[in-house]
Point group: C2
Chain length 135, copies 2
């Protein structure tokens, strides 16, 4: 039963990524990381707020609103948080995301700090470190 | 046993917050949100990388390194991801964080989208939405 609880309960903490083109971002995270959509609200002007699930974790995606201090990486020319994605097969997950349109920051490799990790940038400017502990 | 699994397994996804003054940030997240430290690495120049746990979720905290595209909100004058913290008592959690040094963006209140939520800024420029679904 533990699997059921973990896959349905809302985690304590979830990042909310501000993006331009929220609709496209939701589609990208589905294709790149196998994310599923838990809730999806679209305003009349086409802006979205979506709650997504990756594994047992949640991820929110929303169109930016600089007037509310919600900035996309495109607006700030950089990002202030990166996403650490822990998977059984970092190489396969990394390549899947590349195939969906991500770009390489550095390739997957064994790192001196004991993880096998690669880093990529998604088309909306957020960065992902995809890896797993080596031991 | 489900509780044990959830509290010890590493979640699929965890945000990594770039900050100035990483040491102080780790202390703040402990005091403000009851986070615990799972791992802590300090370099000779005093920069830290810490993996923290809040509830069953993980949060990484690290000193910024703009040369590696890891920017603090202070460097970009804004943040590109906010943290959604789901708790049983948003008012109490919000006030605890204020007591630790956070500042109010908006007070905890019932929102039209069906959550009771307040938003605050931590001393390092990251924003937190603390709340729970109303139903």
């Amino acid at each position: 039963m533990a699997d059921v609880v973990e896959s349905t309960a809302r985690p304590t903490l979830a990042p909310l990524l501000s993006v331009r083109q929220g609709k496209k971002a939701v589609d990208f995270y589905k294709a790149a990381f196998g994310a599923t959509v838990l809730s999806y609200v679209e305003s009349p002007d086409g802006e979205v707020v979506a709650e997504m699930r990756i594994g047992a974790s949640s991820l929110w995606v929303a169109d930016e609103s600089p007037e509310n201090k919600n900035f996309s990486p495109e607006s700030l020319d950089g990002s202030t948080a990166r996403m650490v994605l822990v998977v059984d097969d970092p190489d396969a997950a990394f390549n899947r995301a590349l195939g969906a349109g991500a770009t390489i920051v550095y390739e997957v490799a064994d790192q001196r700090y004991g993880w096998r990790v690669g880093r990529l940038a998604d088309p909306f400017g957020h960065h992902w470190e995809i890896g797993k502990p080596l031991s």
